[in-house]
Every structure is written in C-alpha cells, then in structure tokens.
C-alpha cells in the first residue's frame, strides 16, 4: 500500500507526526472510525504517551470525537471536513453519524487493512470505476450502485460501491485475468 507524500504532508500540516499522518490517512480513506489499539498496532508499540498524545490531539483539534463503549474502550470518529478535504476525500460519507453496526463493520475493515498493508487497495469510487470500466472494459451499468435523490426534485446521482468494503487487485495475476479480491467484513 502506497500513501502519497502529498497526503501525509497535508495531514502533517495539522500538527501530526509522520506515523500519525499515515494512520489518519488510512482511517479517513477506508473506515472513518478507529481505536487507540489500532493505532498502537499500526505503529507497533505499547500503550503509553504516544497513543495518549495522538488521541488527545485528534479530539482537541476537533478532528475526531470519541465515544466510550461497554468495555471502557474508546472509538474515535474522524468527522473534520478540513481533514478529509486535505486528502481529497471531502465527499465520503464516513464523516456522518452512523449506527453501532456500521461502526463495527468499519473497524473490522480497518483491522483487515492494517494487517494486510502489502496489498494495493482501491481507495475511492473513482479508482474502482476507472479500473472496472477503463481497464477491464466492463459496462458501468452492471456495477453495484445506489441512487441518491437530491434536494431538487427529479435530480439524483448514482454512487457506485457504496458499501466501501476493502477491494484490491492482485498484481500477481495478469490484468486480463481480473483476479479480484473482494472483502466482506462481517461482525
């Protein structure tokens, strides 16, 4: 998984360290939710000052809110528009408030990505559309989509792959083979 320096630079501009910026990029791109435990797993260290500082920074800068769950662990929700805008993800729906079921699914997806960082994931709807339509020549109308109606009557937009489950292309297989890895996180 490659994270462009331009993105980490943008996040470092908010006062985060390089590792924190890389972690935040993954959260903002794939999940929207994270825990301190996941941050610790990402940086490969034990609980202590680093995780406390990171959590405090996210909340104090109003980039994330935190909610305590049954075992006194906190789940952080990245909601700051500025932060998403900085990495070109201002339109993702992760910023919104979600159900507990949804949050659990996102945490599972993030856990999988953190454990499998050697894969190159499709990071956005545009990347997925480009791969399927332009590279594989698949008609757009057969891709899974959801139609959202706008504020104006009869005005709607189609969004593709709204489930946002992690998806990556296996480079070991030839392009025409279309060996696709699709993931279905399940609680």
């Amino acid at each position: 998984m490659k994270i462009l320096p331009i993105h980490t630079e943008a996040l470092r501009g908010f006062g985060y360290t390089e590792e924190e910026a890389r972690f935040l990029y993954l959260v903002a791109t794939h999940s929207g939710y994270c825990t301190c435990q996941q941050f610790l797993q990402f940086v490969g260290t034990k609980p202590g000052k680093r995780s406390v500082d990171f959590a405090r920074k996210m909340v104090e800068k109003k980039h994330a809110s935190s909610k305590e769950y049954l075992r006194h662990g906190r789940v952080f929700h990245l909601f700051s528009r500025n932060l998403y805008e900085a990495i070109g993800r201002e339109n993702v729906r992760f910023r919104r408030v979600h159900s507990t079921e949804y949050i659990r699914t996102r945490l599972i997806a993030l856990d999988f990505i953190l454990r499998n960082q050697h894969f190159t994931y499709f990071e956005s709807e545009e990347q997925k559309l480009s791969f399927f339509c332009d590279q594989l020549g698949i008609d757009k109308k057969i891709l899974p989509y959801k139609r959202y109606s706008g504020a104006i009557k009869n005005n709607f937009s189609d969004r593709y792959f709204v489930d946002k489950f992690p998806m990556y292309y296996n480079p070991a297989a030839s392009l025409s083979c279309g060996d696709l890895q699709l993931h279905r996180p399940r609680i």
């Binding site: 825990t35 435990q37 996941q38 769950y69 049954l70 075992r71 662990g73 789940v75 507990t100 659990r104 945490l107 599972i108 997806a109 856990d111 999988f112 454990r115 399927f132 594989l136 698949i138 008609d139 109308k141 057969i142 891709l143 899974p144 489930d163 296996n170 297989a173 025409s176 083979c177 279309g178 060996d179 696709l180 890895q181 699709l182 993931h183 279905r184 996180p185 399940r186 609680i187």
Partner: protein
Amino acid sequence: MDSFRTHLDAYLNLFTNLQSLNFRYIATRDTNFERAKKVFHGTFQRLWNPDGPSGLLQYFRTRRTWDEKHYGKLSNDDIAFINEGKERFGSQELEKLYRRWCAGEITENTMRSDSLKFRTPSEVSIIFSTVNGQAALFERHPHCAVNMPVKSSEETFFTGDFTPDFSSGSR
C-alpha cells in the same frame, strides 16, 4: 446470512464479467464460515447451471420468444429477465452459441455442454479471515452482571425527600 446473500446478489453481475474471483469473508469469529461457504458456492452453482431457474437455457428460450416477436407470450417479469440476462450472459461466446442454437445448428444438449466452457467467472474461491475487529469493546465484560439482583426485602422506595440530609444518608 441474509445480508451476505444481498451483498452477493448486488455484485453478481459484476462477478459474471470477471475471469476469476477471490472473495474474502472477514469476521471476528468463525461461527458463520461454513454457512457462508455454502451460500457462496451455492450462488455460483445456480448461476452456472444452464437448466436452473433464471439459467442460460431459460434466458435463451425467453429471448428467442422476444426475437421472434411473440410479445404476447411474455410477461413483464420475462422482459426484465431478458434485460438482466443480457448483462449476465452477454459475452461474445454465448451470443454466438445463441445464434447457432436459434439457427438449428446445434441441439439443446450441445448448447448445454458448450455453455459450460464459457461460464464466468471460470474460477471462484472464498477465503476466510478472522480479525480482532475491536469486538471486545462492544461486549459486556463477563464479570459484569447485566442486571443486579435485588431482593424484594431490600427494595427501597422513593420517599419524596430531595434534601441534602436524605442524599448523604442514603449513600
């Protein structure tokens, strides 16, 4: 498993346009792995079975009725099925097979056996992964009782007194 079936259905048309597919099922426990495996393979077995409901044979027959302009024999469901089938069975190989079958060059049995060569995706697999998923956060601690048992003799009743003396005395 219902949400898993819904997910597969939503992606099925895309899957049929791929040569091979590796599907990963990620969960915090392995409880549903066997059932998911059955649902996954069952979906593709039904898809690949030319004689099955909504299978290739039914698509060819329905489409031939349409192409021969016997519109009166078709219901709205049939028309929807033809449109769906064009996406699912729209490969060039199957199109050729359909033309040859319509022209009477091949029998249904030949068409049935030939269609198996062109099934897509030709290879599917499902891989199971368990992750932590921070699941413990959402579960009550095993030593923490859900409802504290209260004996009827120990039950206290609200006396209507909010004074500080009452509050400190009852602590």
